[in-house]
């Protein structure tokens, strides 16, 4: 099974406010509020850490869930976020122009 890498799309703007992560698409101004799992994926999406490692080290620790199920759900969520232009996903590590990733503050 191939590994999946995630990176924040640098073309979105992101802010965390009082524990809520909000993201706005620069393309069409759509505003997204991320849930806790999506926020973990966003924060860990550095282009270099594979998804299975993010699930094992962050999601399973936070939610005490079965690693196999969690990985399946996380992959579906990551693909959904990529579909909205929030994340980039690839089977290879993703090199980002800005190491901080996105217009996040």
């Amino acid at each position: 099974m191939s590994r999946l890498y995630l990176a924040r799309n640098p073309r979105v703007a992101a802010r965390s406010l009082d524990g809520e992560m909000m993201i706005m698409s620069g393309r069409d101004s759509t505003l997204f509020t991320l849930n806790k799992t999506a926020t973990i994926l966003w924060q860990a999406a550095d282009g270099a850490t594979p998804l299975d490692q993010i699930v094992q080290q962050k999601i399973c620790v936070e939610f005490s869930v079965d690693p196999g199920e969690a990985l399946k759900d996380a992959e579906a969520l990551a693909r959904d976020l990529a579909g909205h232009g929030i994340l980039q996903i690839s089977e290879d590590p993703i090199v980002q122009p800005n190491p901080a990733g996105g217009a996040s503050r």
Binding site: R15, D18, M22, G26, D28, L31
Partner: protein, 271 residues
Amino acid sequence: MPQLTTEVDRLSLVVEIGGMPVRINTADPGFLGTLQRRYSGFVSGSAEAEVEFDVDLVSPSLGDDDAPVEVKHQGGAWSFRRGDFLAEWRPASRRGWIRQTANPYSIDAVLRIVHTLVLAKQGGFLLHSASAIRNGKAFLFAGVSEAGKTTISRLAPPDATLLTDEISYVRKHENGYVAYGTPFTGELAKLGENVSAPVGALYLLAKGRENRIDPIPPGEAARSLLANLLFFAEDEELVQATFHAAFEFVSRIPVSRLTFFPDARVWELIG
């Protein structure tokens, strides 16, 4: 040799909203008079203009009147298009042109658009909200249509100065935010006063059976502010700037929900 061109006298006036003078040139004295009446109180004697438009009046055949506004940036120029007007503005030269019919509504839309573009670069914005000054502070009352912007404006006591009943003008300053009066009117059809004051609070309007102010979580404040911003540009850089401007604003200005019963007592809670 016969003269092939005719020199047309250009007439002009400067409309200054939010401290930004915009010169409008036209060859039509009747249209100039329309603008002088429309922007009464906001016509400035300023010789300098930050933006200058030449208006060409055309017959009503530009396109679909119901078409949504399009604002695009390409090759150093902004183009604005709606069914009733076509315009271009080049920030580098500060100049632009507008083709529209002889009505005050099209140029009003162009002015709103150009102000949103300039403000977005500076951390400010136009907001769907009524606003008024009381006791030296400006208070903003935001909400969609029917939320109560006109009602709260109509109920304002004599010691409150109405800045607008429809679209508030907010500039970021070094020490906070300042709200300015605008000629952009809603149902009240009354121009705001051309004055300004530091913003004291933003209230999200809700109609109810009593008057009360409730705190709201920061995330909801940011979402509500973003939902009420006027923004037209299809431009990633400005979308991101406006997004961050909204968060800056809610981190510095108190945002609450104002539930009100439509009578003058609601103003006992304001200021």
